[in-house]
């Protein structure tokens, strides 16, 4: 009996410990209230399980909120989701707490976003990487999508040119006509990055072999590294990744083996300045900010999905940093021309493997 009591006590102690940690990590990070305005507008966001610090879309949305705070005087709140069952309570909680606009960040929160929007008709909701169907969705929710394929395409044009025609520009490039793509989970935004990259490469270098490996995880660095190493063994000298934190392993592999990597979502050059050639960026900061601004000016486009692309300054590639002088002017000219054509709508880019004719 005594023994049971003891183990019960221990178990509950451990449980309390675990719960307090969970609570701590879900704790709201409330920014201090702005002083001058009488009733500042509150804008909230709920991260997906990746949470802040992913150096990718959660951080991007948060920075968009901070930009809104700076320029528009809104009060931002972030709630982090520990698991998928937190999504609806977190989103609804923010709305009930008087937040006029609530962001859901990530493809995986789609269902939760719609449910929260239905339950809280007085608040506005916006979902990043989420498609909102105008036919069925309530009028207080909008979806925000990106043309990842545009960023991927530009990165592909660069990779396709550098790997063969301009391979003499750097000792990191070999004479083989092969580039690689490391993918995380195979979900639509990842597929769009890959397919765009593939088409970009093929547009300038039809014979180039584009190899891709799906790792099935966004947090497995070792898998990302292995995928990249296997590609490098097969002659790849530029590795693009659309794999979140898994991609850090791919960048590390490229660094160890002395080849180039191309980052994703944000400018990942700081991760490995001597390895990351550029990054296929996705302007989440900008689009989040623009959405807040629209809401403040009563232009919130509820019930629709807005797609941000190169014309909204939300897709593209990051600066070349230390490689700027290494990349030949002709390559830069082709990329600038591609951007101009893309803005003018002259380039049609498929968004799925099937459409792009990939196996």
């Amino acid at each position: 009996m005594k023994r049971n009591l003891k183990s019960f006590l221990i178990l509950s102690l451990v449980l309390v410990l675990v719960l307090s940690m969970v609570l701590f990590s879900c704790k709201k990070k409330e920014e201090p209230e702005a002083e001058e305005t009488a009733a500042p507008v509150k804008v909230g966001m709920a991260t997906d399980v990746g949470g802040l610090g992913d150096k990718s879309f959660n951080d991007g949305a948060y920075n968009g909120l901070l930009l809104g705070k700076e320029r528009l005087g809104i009060v931002p709140t972030v709630v982090e989701s520990k698991q998928q069952t937190d999504y609806v309570p977190n989103l609804s909680g923010l709305a009930e707490d008087g937040h006029k606009l609530v962001f859901a960040v990530g493809f995986l929160m789609a269902d939760a976003l719609l449910e929260a929007a239905k339950n809280n008709p007085d608040a506005y909701f916006a979902g990043i990487d989420i498609f909102v169907d105008p036919a069925t969705a309530p009028k207080n929710v909008m979806g925000i999508l990106y043309k990842e394929e545009e960023s991927g395409y530009l990165a592909g044009v660069l990779a396709g040119l550098m790997t063969k025609k301009y391979a003499s520009a750097s000792p990191k490039l070999n004479d083989k006509n092969v580039v690689g793509v490391v993918l995380g989970m195979f979900i639509p935004p990842v597929e769009k990055f890959e397919v765009g990259f593939y088409q970009g490469v093929k547009a300038v270098n039809p014979d180039c072999q584009v190899i891709s490996v799906t790792t099935g995880s966004f947090t497995d660095q070792a898998k990302g590294k292995e995928a990249a190493l296997a590609m490098i063994e097969n002659g790849a000298d530029i590795i693009f990744h659309a794999a979140g934190l898994t991609g850090l392993g791919a960048i590390n592999a490229a660094k160890e083996k002395g080849v180039f990597a191309i980052g994703v979502d944000v400018d990942q050059n700081p991760v490995a300045p001597d390895t990351v050639l550029t990054s296929a960026v996705k302007g989440i900061v900008n689009s989040t900010y623009l959405t807040i601004e629209a809401m403040m000016q009563d232009r919130f486009e509820g019930g629709t999905t807005k797609t941000f692309g190169i014309n909204e300054d939300s897709t593209g590639i990051a600066p070349f940093h230390q490689f700027d002088s290494m990349i030949p002017q002709e390559v830069k000219d082709i990329i600038n021309q591609t951007i101009a054509d893309m803005k003018a709508g002259k380039i049609k880019i498929a968004t799925t493997r099937a459409e792009a004719g990939m196996k």
Partner: protein, 318 residues
């Protein structure tokens, strides 16, 4: 299909070692622990603790060797929770292990926020153990075997040494006999005057050390930073490797190699586009292969008789 043979080359075998090392280390720990009678499903959690402290220490000091030491010790200390819970407090082993796994992920997330201001991933460490790759003179020149076994990075060498060391300990030494007795017939061990408590504590601690080392391999040797959840189920694969390896160090090692081999193979199959199926099929391949091997071999292996049994000596009180 002609490309299929091109996959089977030296690089595949080198990749096998690379992918199996963390599993080997954790599986060795599981073997020692379970042979002493303590069920251990907490390797996953211990590994993540090890990888976190290894990376943090390597970041703070700039010295990956201190990081290695920190990962090792953090794993050992964390595993003591399991020892206290199961041995001293007689808690169910599986329950304690499950709690430890959840706890480890909570702790690392909490400490990430505390140390770095955000969860997710740490900054890159300045110097990784990969830089200390060392080709053993002479031996590394042996064809095939040389590049696979004798041109490796520090923790990989440790894993080889530990396999041999533990195989020797378990088979040839008195201490090994005591460990086995603690898992087969603890009462017999106690009657010859050896403390089952002590042996079991030590066994759990050893499993913590090797699992911590496995974690350190992931964060400071194979990669250069810690990422939340970077173990991705390797601790559980290690458990399976230990079981299909028949609760022996050598068997655990071979099973881990098999899983690493299957994993290395699926990546290369994706590259040559062996068959046109969704990539998920490739991703599950190593797991399915492991399940088949476990199901196939496990009938031949026998678990320690007193595995998971609580051991309690009622002491007379006055």
């Amino acid at each position: 299909m002609s490309g299929i043979l091109s996959v089977f080359n030296l690089n595949l075998l080198i990749a096998t070692i690379r992918l199996s090392t963390p599993i080997t280390l954790a599986a060795l720990g599981a073997t020692i622990c379970e042979r002493a009678g303590i069920v251990n499903i907490a390797m996953e959690g211990i590994m993540i603790i090890g990888s976190f402290f290894a990376a943090v220490t390597a970041l703070a000091t700039g010295n990956p060797w201190l990081g290695l030491l920190a990962g090792l010790l953090a794993g050992g200390i964390f595993s003591l929770i399991h020892a206290v819970a199961t041995i001293s407090l007689h808690l169910d082993h599986v329950v304690s292990g499950a709690v430890l796994n959840i706890l480890a992920f909570g702790i690392t997330r909490y400490l990430m926020v505390l140390f770095f201001g955000h969860p997710g991933t740490t900054d890159a460490i300045p110097l990784s153990l990969y830089r200390f790759q060392w080709a053993i003179p002479g031996l590394s020149k042996i064809p095939v075997l040389g590049p696979i076994f004798f041109n490796q990075t520090p923790i990989v060498y440790f894993s080889f040494i530990l396999v041999i060391f533990f195989a020797f300990i378990m088979k040839k030494t008195k201490f090994g006999l005591h460990i086995r007795a603690a898992g087969e017939h603890p009462l017999a061990l106690e009657t010859i005057g050896v403390s089952v408590f002590k042996i079991r504590y030590l066994a759990v601690f050893i499993s913590g050390l090797t699992s911590g080392l496995a974690g350190a391999y992931l964060s400071i040797e194979n990669n250069v930073s810690f990422t939340e959840g970077m173990t991705n189920g390797r601790g559980f694969i290690a458990l399976a490797a230990n079981i299909s390896g028949g609760w022996t160090p050598l068997g655990s090692f071979l099973s881990s190699l098999f899983f690493g081999f299957a994993d290395a193979l699926q990546v290369r199959f994706q590259i040559i586009k062996l068959v046109n199926v969704p990539s998920e099929i490739f991703i599950i391949f190593p797991y399915v292969a492991t399940v088949i091997v476990v199901a196939g071999l496990v009938r031949k292996s026998r678990s320690p008789k007193a595995l998971g049994n609580d051991f309690m000596i009622e002491k007379e009180r006055d």
